[in-house]
Symmetry: C2
Subunit: 872 residues, 2 copies
Amino acid sequence: MTKYVYSFKEGSKEMKSLLGGKGANLAEMKRIGLPVPSGFTVTTEACNFYFQNNHKINEKLQKEINKHLELLEKEEGKKLGDNKNPLLLSIRSGAVISMPGMMDTVLNLGLNDDTVEALAKQTSNYRFAYDSYRRFVQMFGDVVLKIPKYEFDRTLDKVKDKYNAKLDTDLSYENLKEVVDLYKKIIYKHTKKEFPQNPKEQLLMAIKAVFDSWKNERAIIYRRINDIKESLATAVNVQSMVFGNTGKYSGTGVAFTRNPVTGERKVFGEFLINAQGEDVVAGIRTPKEISELKDILPKVYGEFIKTCEKLEEHYKDMQDIEFTVEDKRLYLLQTRTAKRTAQSATKIAVDMVKEKVISKDEALLRVTPEQVNRLLHPSFDEEELKRSKKIAKGLPASPGAASGKVYFTSEKAVEVSKNGEDVILVRTETSPEDIEGMVESRGILTSRGGMTSHAAVVARGMGKCCVAGCSEIVVEEENRLFKVGDLVIKEGEYISIDGMKGNIYKGLIHTRSPELSDDFKVFMKWADDKRKLGVRTNADTPKDSKIAIDFGAEGIGLCRTEHMFFSDKRINAVREMILSDNKDDRVKALDKLFPYQKEDFYNIFKEMKHRPVTVRLLDPPLHEFLPSEEKDIKNVAKKLNLDLSHLKEKIMKLKEFNPMLGHRGCRLGISYPEIYEMQVKAIFTAAIEAKKKLDINPHPEIMIPLIGDKRELKFLRELVCSSADKIFQKEDSVITYKVGTMIEVPRAALTSDEIANYADFFSYGTNDLTQMTFGFSRDDSGEFIREYKERKILQKDPFESIDINGVGKLMKMSVEAAKKKKENIKLGICGEHGGEENSIKFCHKLGLDYVSCSPFRVPGARLAAAQVTIKE
Amino acid sequence: MTKYVYSFKEGSKEMKSLLGGKGANLAEMKRIGLPVPSGFTVTTEACNFYFQNNHKINEKLQKEINKHLELLEKEEGKKLGDNKNPLLLSIRSGAVISMPGMMDTVLNLGLNDDTVEALAKQTSNYRFAYDSYRRFVQMFGDVVLKIPKYEFDRTLDKVKDKYNAKLDTDLSYENLKEVVDLYKKIIYKHTKKEFPQNPKEQLLMAIKAVFDSWKNERAIIYRRINDIKESLATAVNVQSMVFGNTGKYSGTGVAFTRNPVTGERKVFGEFLINAQGEDVVAGIRTPKEISELKDILPKVYGEFIKTCEKLEEHYKDMQDIEFTVEDKRLYLLQTRTAKRTAQSATKIAVDMVKEKVISKDEALLRVTPEQVNRLLHPSFDEEELKRSKKIAKGLPASPGAASGKVYFTSEKAVEVSKNGEDVILVRTETSPEDIEGMVESRGILTSRGGMTSHAAVVARGMGKCCVAGCSEIVVEEENRLFKVGDLVIKEGEYISIDGMKGNIYKGLIHTRSPELSDDFKVFMKWADDKRKLGVRTNADTPKDSKIAIDFGAEGIGLCRTEHMFFSDKRINAVREMILSDNKDDRVKALDKLFPYQKEDFYNIFKEMKHRPVTVRLLDPPLHEFLPSEEKDIKNVAKKLNLDLSHLKEKIMKLKEFNPMLGHRGCRLGISYPEIYEMQVKAIFTAAIEAKKKLDINPHPEIMIPLIGDKRELKFLRELVCSSADKIFQKEDSVITYKVGTMIEVPRAALTSDEIANYADFFSYGTNDLTQMTFGFSRDDSGEFIREYKERKILQKDPFESIDINGVGKLMKMSVEAAKKKKENIKLGICGEHGGEENSIKFCHKLGLDYVSCSPFRVPGARLAAAQVTIKE
C-alpha cells in the first residue's frame, strides 16, 4: 500500500520527487544532526491522489496524517489544541522544483481562542501569543479561505493608526487582541461562518489549501514559463512551530552561504529580530545584515556560520537557508541550492574546484550556457529598474539591455546617432535595408517577427539588444509614434528594452557593462578541454570576427555576403546589376562591386588568419535590394538614370508572393552565374593577397545556399572550381579550399546521399529547414507559435530549439546518408540553433563536427558542448 | 568486335534501338516479303562512336560500310560510280523514336557528270537523269554542305521564269542541265571547292551529315520538348534508289492504313505522279487523294491496299507508310506506327478489339491518358488556326481552347459576360477574389504563376481553358491593356488561347465542342474493370460534382470550402467575422454564414449520394478575404460600418510576408475554433437533412488541412467529433463519418506514425508538400523552374509530376509509417498530381487507395490507373 506521509526522520535529500525539495532537505538536515523542528511530509503522490479524488482528502490519507501527528505530539510533548501545552504547526508547500513565492504557507496553526491563552500563560508572553494568533488568523483567512489580503492589511493599519503605532511591534497585546476580533469579523463577513476553532479541522483545511495552491494561476504561469510538469505536484510539510517573535532574543532570517551576486565566499543574508518569516519578505521593517547578528547574538551567530559551512560541505554547493532563532536557540527551516547570478555562478564553480569541493566536470555542470552568455551583455541598473514602468513584453530576441530615444526609420537612426544620441530603433519588422540603422542603434524593438526574424538574427549577430515580435505595440511609422493600449510613445521619447527578458520600459534606465573575470577565462578553458564539438561563429564583418575570436570561436561557420551589399556606396552598383537587362550590363555592374567584396574578404581573412572561413554566396531574393517606397523608387530612378515606369515594372516583376520560397539562394547563382563568379573571384583574390601580404594561410570554404537537388550543386561546384582555377593561374598562387552546401531545404536532407557526391561539407541551415519542414514563415508565425505553446501543441518554439522529432529526423537521415556516401564529409550547423543549449547537445549526438552561432553565443556554445560530453 | 553495319536482310523490327525505327522496319518489311529496295543500316552505336571519335568515321567503320556497299552492288548488279550501270543511293536518318522532319536525307547519291550521262543513256530518259542530278546537287548542297537552301530555290525559280515553266516538270533536260551548272557555281562560291564527283566521297560525306544532324538545333529542341535522350543517337539507312520521277507511270506518296483523324477503317493518304519524295512535302504541286491511284494505276493500287492490310496485320496497329512507284512497280520506303488524334486513337483501339486484332489490355495501352483528357475539351477550328497569328506562349495550364474579348478585372468580366460577350480574363495572377470573373470567362490568361498557380488549379477544376505564367506579356491593368513586345492588346480586343499548348493568338478563332462517342464509353468501361486504384474528384460545387460523376468519379477527394466564401452575399459576413475583435462577434458573423454553408453541402450531398465526400475545412489565410485596393477598402469600411483607419490597421496586421507559410489551415482552426465548429455543424446538419429529405446516405469525410504535429490533429479531431455529436443529439440522427488530415507539410510526413493515431485517413496534398519540400513557391517559381528544365537541372516540373526522389521519398516514409501504425488507414492524394499519369502510377505502386483530381482529368486518371495495373 502506498505510503502517503513520511516523518522527517524517514526522508533524505534523494527523495525529492516524493517529498518535494523542502521536505527532502528538512529530512536531510535532520539526518546530519542539524537543529530542525520535528515534523512530517505529506507526499507529492498524496497530492496527485487528492486531485484524482476530486480534491478530497480520503480516509486513508487522513489516518496517516493523524498517525504522524500523534507521533509528532509525542516527540514534542505537546498536543494540538491542548488547553495547557498546545502544539503549534507550520504548514508549508514543497514542490519538487523550487517555485519561490508561488505557493502557500500557513504558520501558527493550532491557535484558537483557548490555545492562545494557554500559549500566553505558558510563555508568560501575552503579546507574543496574540501576535501569533493575529498572524495565524490573517494567513488562514488569506491562504485557506481566499479572502482578499488587503482587507486584513487595511484593518491592521487602522488599528495601528488608532493607537499611533508605527511598527507592528509597537502594538500591545490588547491592540492585537482587537485586531484578531476584527479579523474574525472579516472572515464571518466573507464566509458566513465563524473562524474554525478546531485545530484538526484547521490542519486539514490548510493541507488542502496547499494542495490546491499547486493549481493556482500564478503557479500555472510559473510552471509554463519554467517548463515544469504539472504532474510533479507539491508535497506539504507539517512542522512543529518555532517562534522568532517571542522577543528580543528571537528572530528570523534568510541567508546564502556565499554571495549570490558576486560569488564571494562569505555568508550573505539578512534577519529581523522579534519577527516571523513573512515579515522579512513583506518589507515592513528593514532587515539587518547577517553580520550584525554577531553583535546581537554572538553565540547563535557562531553556530549559524558553522552550520552554513557544514551545509555547503554536505551539499557541495552554495545553499539558500531559512532560519529562526527562538530565545537564542537556532533552528533551520529550509535549505536549498541557491539561485545565483551568472557572475556568481562562474566564480563559485571555479572557487569550489580550487577548494577541492568539486571536480572540474562538476564545475562545468554548475553554470548554464545561458548564464555564460548573460555575462557578455550589459544589464540594467537594478535600483533604477525597480522604479521603472514596464509597458509591454515581447520576445527576448537578443540579450542585453539598452536605453535610448525611439526612432522609426533607419535613416533617422543613423542621422541622430551621429549627434551622439542613443537610439532604440522601433520598426514593425526590419529588413536588410535597415542594417545601417541597426548598427547605429543601441537596441532594436519590433512588433512583428519571431526569434529568428531578421531583426532577431541580425541583432544577435551584432551582440545588440533586441526585443522582437512585441505584438502589444502598434507601430505607426508615418505618424512617428507607437502605441501600447492607450499609451503613446512618440519619436524622441526614451524607452528601455531588456533583450534577455523581452521587457519594454518607459523612460531611461542606465546600464552596466560586463567585465570578464579571470575566473571566467579559467572556466571556459576547462570547457574547451572537455568538449568534442567545434564552435564557430556566424560573422559577416571583420569586427564581428574579432569579437568572436575573443570569445573563443574557432572559425567562421557562416559569413553572409548580402549584408556587405547594403552600404551606401555599393547598393547602387547592386541595383544597377539587378536592373540590367542583359548579362553584359550585369557584369559591368558586378565589376564595380568586385573591389568592395575583395576588401571585405581580405579584412575578414586578416582577422581569422588560418581559421576556416565559410562564405555563403549571395542568398536573398534580388527584390530585397530594391526600394519599395514611392519616393525611394524615384530617387533610385534618378540616381541610376532610369525611366521611372520601367523601373517600377522591373520591381513589380521581381516581387514575389512568398519570397522565402522564391528566386533566391543557388537559384540566383544558376540564373546569373556571373554574380557567384564575381564573389568567388573576390574571395580567392583576397585570400591570395592576404597570404602574400600578411603571411597567413586563409582557409575559405565556399558555401552554396538553398540546394535542393544534386544537379544544382554539381553545376555551381563546377562554376566555383573553374573560377578559382582562373584566379590561381592568374595570380600564380594556390589556396586550399572546400566547396559545400547548406542543407536547409527538406529535399536536400532527403537526397543527401546524392548531394554529398558534390560537397566537401554540409552545414545545416536549421532556420530555413525549420521554416520549410513546419511550413512556418519565421516572419509571420510568432503570434501563432505563442498560441501553440500556450495550448501545449508545441512544447518549444522550434526556431529557438531544434524540433528533434521532425527537423531532427530529417537531419539524422541526412547525416547518415552523407556519412555513408562520404565518410569524411565535414558537418556543421549554422542556423540560429547553433547557439542553443539543447540543440547543441542534439548536434553533438548527431555527430556533427561543429556548431556555429553569433559571436555573443560562442562561450555558451562552448560550455554546452562540454556539458554534453561530460554527461555522456 | 562491335558490328556497326547491318544489311536489311539481317535486321528485324525488334532491333529498333540499334537500327533506328526506319532501319528496323525496312528490314522487317523485307523479312515478311514486301517490296523494299535493298540496302543497309549504319547503327546508332556507330553514330555514338562517331561522336566520341571527334566526329570522324574511322577506318573500321569505313571498311564495314564498303563491305556492305559491295554486297549491295552485287545484289543490284550495279556499281556506285559506274559509268555504264551506276548504283544510286538514298541516305536517310533513322532515330529510335521518330522525330519527323527533324533530320536529314540525301537522295540520288552517286550521280556525277559521268554517271548522270550513263543513267540517261541507260533509261533513255535524259530529262529524268538530269532531274535526278539537279535534285541531288541541291540536296547535297543543302544537307551536306550547309549552303542556304534558298539560293538553290531562287536559282531554280529564275531558270523556270527564263523558260516560262510553270512547274518543275515543265523544264526540259537542257534547262535542268543549266540548273545543275548554276548549282555547281553556288557550291563553289560557298565552299571554294568543286562539287565532289567521287561517289564514295559523296557517300561518306552524306553519312557524316546525317550523324551530325542528330545534333542540329531543331533536333535538340525537339528532343527537349519530347523528352528524348541524346544518347539514343540516329542510325543511317543507305538504300538503293527507286525513282518516282521517271515519268507518268511513276510516282511517290504517303498513306495511313486508317484515318488518323477520325479512326475510320479506310486507307488515307496522297500521292504525286512523276515526283520524288520531297515534292509531296514541299507542296509545289497539289497531291492527289490515294483513292485516285485506283484509276491511274489500278494494279498498283490493288497491290498497295493489300500491302496496307498485311502491314496492319503484322504490326497490329495503324501504320504510316511511304511508298514509291517506279514504272508501275510498287516499293515501300518506310512504315511506322501512325500518330493519331485522341478520337482516332480511341476508335481504333476499340475497333481492333472488335476485329480481334488486339486484346482489351493492349487496347487500353494504345491510348494515352492525355489523349483521353483531350477528348473532353473543345479545340480550335484547324483551318482558322492556320490563318491566325500566334503572339506568345505560356504554360498549358488547363486544356481546351477559347476565344473572347480581353478584360482585366473580375468585375468587368462579370459585367460584360452578362451581356453575352465571350471574355478572356487576363490578369498578372488570379486570386480567390477573381473566382466569379473566372466562372464567367471563357478562358484565363495570366502572366505570372506556374502549373499549379491559383489560376491554373481553379481553371482545371472548372474544366476551363487557361494559359498561365506567360511571362512574355506585360499586363497593365490600370491602362486596360497588355503588351507583347511592341504589340499592344487593349481591353475588348479578341484573343484566342490554347490551353493544351499554351499558345496565344490575336483575334477570334472558333472552337469545336467534343462529342463523347460510344467507343469512348466502351473503352473507359474496360479501364474501370482493370484498375485497382480508386478515382475521386476535386470539386467544390454541385455542378462540378455532377460533371465529375458523369466522367466516372467515385467520390469527392477534395471539396475546398473557401471558394464558397467568396460570392457576394457571403463575403461581407466572412469579412465581418475576420474583423471581429472578440469571439462573440465572430460567432455572430459565423451564424450568418451557417445557412449558406449548409446549403452548399446539402446540394453537394444531393449530387454525390452515397459516395464519399471529403470536405477540407477552411484553409487559406484570412487576409485573402480582405480587400487590398484603397477603393475596395473604403467600400468595405462603409458596408461594414467600420472606421477606415481601424480597418486598415487590421488589414496591415493580418498581412503576411510568406502567406504560404503563415497563419492558415489548421492553425486558423486552432486560433478560432468557432470557424471550424460552424463548418462541421453545416456539414452534418446538411447530411442529416439530405438523409431525411432525399433518402440518401451521405458519407462525409472531414479533412483538416496543414497538420504538422499530432497535437494539432488531436485538438481538432476532438473539436470535430464533439461538434458532430451535438448535431446528432439535436437532430436525433447519426451520420457515419471519418476524420482525417492532409499530409502536405513535410513534418507531417516525417511524423506520420504519430499523426496516424488521430486520423481515419490521410490525403497527400502534394501541391503544398512539393512547395515545402523543394522550397518552391508555386506562385513565384514558374520562371526559374522553366530555366531549370532547360539546363536539365530538373527533368520535370515537380508541380506537374511527383518528384519521386524527394517528395516521393517523404510520401513513401509516411505511407509505411502510417500503415504500420494503422493497417486500415485510408490513403489518397488530392494534389494536382492526382490527375497526372506518372504520378498516378507512383501512387498505385505506393499502395494508395485512391487519387483525386479535377473533373476533367478523371477519365485520364481512370485510364492511367488501368494501365499501371496492366503493366505490372
